[in-house]
Amino acid sequence: MIQFDNVSKRYSSGHEALNRLSFQVRRDEMVFLTGHSGAGKSTLLKLIMLMERPSAGQVLVNGQNLKKLGRRQIPYHRRRVGVVFQNHQLLFDRTVFDNVALPLLIAGYHPRDVGRRVRAALDKVGLLKREKQSPINLSGGEQQRVGIARAVVNKPLVLLADEPTGNLDPELSAEIMLLFKQFNQVGVTVLIATHDLALVARMPNRMMALRDGQLVPGHEQSGVALG
């Protein structure tokens, strides 16, 4: 589902975030991506989201070579990829419902479908009763769940998460991870960047460790073969 072939990313500042990185995440897989801050986790996710372009190599998502997507096609690519951020990226000037509905309105769903899908997504993250509130009145864990609902409301093929539990206590973090697992079980490919090794250790999923823009060899946890 996600494939990196010899991908390098060098920023104009000269910093080399990724260095000839190759890996593959299979369809229906849920994979953790760990490493210190600055190891290249965020860059890797940004390349999948087409928020950045690689300096060399190529990235494939669902068989589509991202190099071949022009500027105008980026929005359509992003609609197939859900993304969850540490800082939630929610809009506080509108309700929880409106935040979650945003990707659907953007994708041009008919109004009769929007309400149903939004409520289904909110129900899944356990926030159906909060739909009329502003996200600012929610706790950190709840805000993160709104972010997750927004990421999955459009039924993406791939779900990316960048430090989704960064600000949460272990109990809430476990809840969030359980949510990701549930989405993975219904067929969404999930890639989670985190530095919370203790949390990852409790999960049976494959883990990739990044260091200085490269995968650390022999760090595969679940024994799923690469490539």
Binding site: R78, L91, F97, A101, R112, V114, N154
Partner: protein, 344 residues
């Protein structure tokens, strides 16, 4: 002029409130539907409607800033429009003078009355001339003595000093002033003619002045139109700046450039439309205020003239100008600034 409105009102992408209200009724028994082409078209249209109404609502939630912008645009539109109205009225006023435009052809004393009438007939064949009348020396003298009040003095004169006159009526009024001037010079060359002249040269001069006024008004309209463009552009630029975070999120979840652009474009259109309405009311007030003074002046001249405002077509044109300038200004801002905002 450009930086008049630092307080910003925000455009916005549609909130789903209306959507959720509409859908909640049909929630039960909802069937899974793919968004088909017709659905998408419908959604696209309803999105336009939604963005249009919500960007207006956003402007109205910051009334002070919006009113300031509307006033600036309104004044900039009202200025050239009022000049157009003034010119239009002047044109209406002078339109009645066309019939007064005549060419007087004074004949030599040696030219007999029949020769004079023949000259008139000959000149009538020219397309520029629609009618002529012959005034003999005696008629001229009689007219002069009754109108001048010098009747008794004239009676004393040994012979009639006034020439016979052929009065020519131009076919097209003063609209063909240049052609008429050529004609006057031509007639002047005829052997029977002592002097040929246009009676209403001052009206012609007025026409020339009005032509000049039209050009000045056009230049002013162009400049102020540019001003409106820049004001709207700058206001929209600030709106974009204040919604940076929202733009990033929208782009992140797959908003196309057109989608991101839409609320700002509509906001610009509303600014222009509101400015047009302000201008319309300003002009209405101006005409009403001047009407009394004009009526008094016109009464002194015993004229039927009535000051008139923009009219339906003029009003529509004013609003259209506002809308187009708002659209242009926001397009300018959007194309310059939206591309630079990308999710980080």
């Amino acid at each position: 002029m450009v930086n008049l409105c630092p307080v910003m009102s925000n455009p916005g992408w549609p909130l789903a409130k209306t959507v959720s209200q509409r859908t909640s009724r049909r929630e039960s028994g909802a069937v899974q539907r793919k968004s088909r082409v017709s659905d998408r078209l419908g959604a696209w249209r309803s999105h336009h409607r939604l963005v249009a109404s919500q960007s207006l609502q956003r402007l109205l939630t910051h009334p002070l800033a919006s009113i300031l912008t509307w006033m600036v645009i309104g004044i900039a539109l009202a200025l050239p429009a009022s000049l157009f109205i003034a010119l239009d009225n002047l044109q209406q006023l002078t339109g009645g003078w066309d019939s007064a435009a005549r060419i007087s052809v004074y004949l030599h004393d040696s030219v007999s009355e029949s020769a004079g009438r023949r000259l008139g007939e000959k000149l009538l064949e020219k397309p520029e001339i629609s009618d002529f009348s012959y005034i003999s020396k005696a008629e001229a003298l009689a007219e002069f003595s009754t109108l001048s009040g010098f009747g008794s003095v004239i009676d004393e004169l040994p012979d009639n000093p006034l020439p016979a006159v052929v009065l020519l009526q131009p076919a097209l009024g003063l609209g063909s002033a240049e052609a008429l001037e050529v004609l006057v010079r031509e007639v002047q060359q005829l052997p029977e003619v002592e002097l040929a002249q246009m009676d209403v040269q001052w009206v012609q001069r007025l026409y020339r002045l009005m032509e000049l006024g039209k050009r000045v008004t056009l230049a002013l309209a162009a400049l102020l139109g540019l001003g409106v463009l820049l004001v709207t552009g700058n206001t929209i630029r600030l709106a974009i700046e204040s919604r940076r975070e929202e733009i990033e999120v929208v782009k992140l979840v797959g908003g196309t450039d057109a989608y991101v652009r839409r609320p700002f474009i509509y906001t610009g259109v509303w600014y222009g439309f509101g400015g047009g309405i302000v201008a319309w009311f300003l002009l209405l007030g101006l005409v009403a205020w001047l009407d009394g003074a004009v009526a008094g002046l016109v009464g002194l001249y015993d004229s039927q003239f009535e000051l008139h405002g923009l009219g339906v077509a003029g009003s529509a044109l004013l609003l259209l100008a506002g809308v187009l300038l708002g659209l242009g200004g926001s397009w300018l801002a959007v194309s310059r600034h939206l591309g630079a905002i990308q999710p980080q």
